[in-house]
């Protein structure tokens, strides 16, 4: 084996805090009060993330390759790499400290695997940045907090620019995922790698299209539904065709996070791309999905 499966989940920043609150953790009263107000809208997301941990454990992964769109925390507008691989021994997060999110001061990174992925992508003509001494923000730590709460499974971050200006094309994201799978399957056939991604489908943060009394909006719910259909059907080629730059741009300033999902599908589609689990959360325009790269009965 090598890549054994893929998982796409949500990364609403306060989900770990809400989970801590629901678990009865001791929290400062103002934090607990703020989190309490978020429980009902996010209860199902917390349930799904807990379920994702069970599914993650079932994969028996020894490393995670994580396609992620940094939220201008690891990188900033002075230099936004279109694609970057994180190569180091350890990292930490969340660097943006969402309300109630426990700190994870030591998150292992699989340096050898990350180096292999970086070199392999260069060999395959992807001009990929190499990041060292980086931190992770909530877009990666929220999923990791739930699927590997002890932070005992090393991660290889592969960032795809989604919030820092013009992103790569969907075709390129799919090719990236396929290249990463090829590299890993060739170089580390004995490994059990789970590929992850997270993010929304249509999401605008801090723009005039936010909901009343909120700082986010969902400008294109039709696109959310359409992407859901295509993910369920496994028609990745159609998804890539429809995920045009204009469509992603108009679906919100965080909508290019879909490129991470597309890369993930590229990495697991060697034996079918229909998810074995799928749930669309329309109120936050994101999905929870699991793909298996192992043949049934294996």
């Amino acid at each position: 084996m090598s890549i054994v499966g893929g998982m796409h989940v949500a990364h609403i920043p306060v989900l770990p805090g809400v989970g801590e609150y629901l678990a009865g953790a001791e929290l400062p009263p103002p934090v607990a009060a703020a989190l309490e107000r978020m429980v009902e809208p996010m209860r199902r997301d917390v349930e799904l993330l807990i379920e994702m941990r069970e599914r993650f454990v079932a994969f028996g992964a020894d490393a995670i390759v994580f396609f992620d769109s940094d939220h201008l925390n690891t990188f900033f507008l002075d230099h936004v790499p279109s694609i970057a691989v994180g190569v180091d021994d350890t990292t930490s997060g969340p660097s943006d400290h969402p309300l109630g999110h426990p700190d994870h001061p030591s998150i292992p990174v699989d340096r050898a695997l990350a180096d292999t992925v970086h070199r392999g992508l260069i060999d395959r003509l992807f001009d990929v940045s190499r990041a060292q001494r980086f931190t992770l923000d909530h877009s990666m730590t929220v999923p990791l907090h739930y699927v590997t709460p002890d932070m005992d499974v090393p991660v290889v971050p592969v960032w795809i620019n989604g919030l820092g200006g013009v992103p790569i094309r969907s075709q390129r994201a799919l090719a990236l995922g396929r290249a990463v799978a090829e590299i890993i399957n060739e170089a580390a056939p004995e490994r059990r790698i789970v590929v992850m991604s997270s993010g929304a489908i249509s999401f605008d943060i801090g723009t005039p299209r936010v909901f009343p009394n909120a700082v986010f909006g969902i400008p294109d719910p039709e696109w959310v539904a359409r992407v859901g259909e295509l993910l369920i059907s496994g028609d990745v080629d159609q998804l890539v065709e429809e995920a045009t730059p204009d469509r992603l741009r108009d679906a919100g300033n965080a909508a290019a996070e879909l490129l991470d999902t597309i890369a993930l599908i590229g990495a697991v589609d060697g034996s079918g791309v229909r998810p074995e689990f799928f749930e669309l959360r329309e109120d936050h325009a994101h999905v929870f999905a699991v793909w298996s790269a192992e043949p049934e009965g294996a």
Partner: protein, 91 residues
């Protein structure tokens, strides 16, 4: 117009605890030497996110101001003001 420096202020609100504290204690002094034009600084001190957005400041980054209740902003205030601006594509 170097809105980059306003974007950087928004980033520092999350990543520079000393700067956040300074902004909360004395926003006028805290923004005196961060590279902003007079117009940018005036809009920031007024919490005028509509005006800043129309200058080209990132809505995504300005949201940090509401999260940290900087410059007189909270979620309802931020939302009410930014919704008066015309949306422009972020790239």
């Amino acid at each position: 117009m170097a809105v980059f420096d306003v974007d950087r202020v928004c980033w520092r609100i999350v990543h520079d605890p000393d700067f956040l504290l300074a902004v909360q204690n004395d926003p006028v002094a805290a923004t005196a030497d961060v590279g902003l034009s007079e117009q940018e600084r005036h809009l920031l001190l007024e919490g005028d996110v509509k005006g800043l957005y129309e200058l080209g400041v990132s809505g995504f980054l300005m949201e940090h101001l509401a999260n940290k209740r900087a410059f007189g902003l909270d979620w309802p205030t931020y939302s009410q003001r930014i919704r008066q601006a015309a949306w422009t594509p972020s790239w």
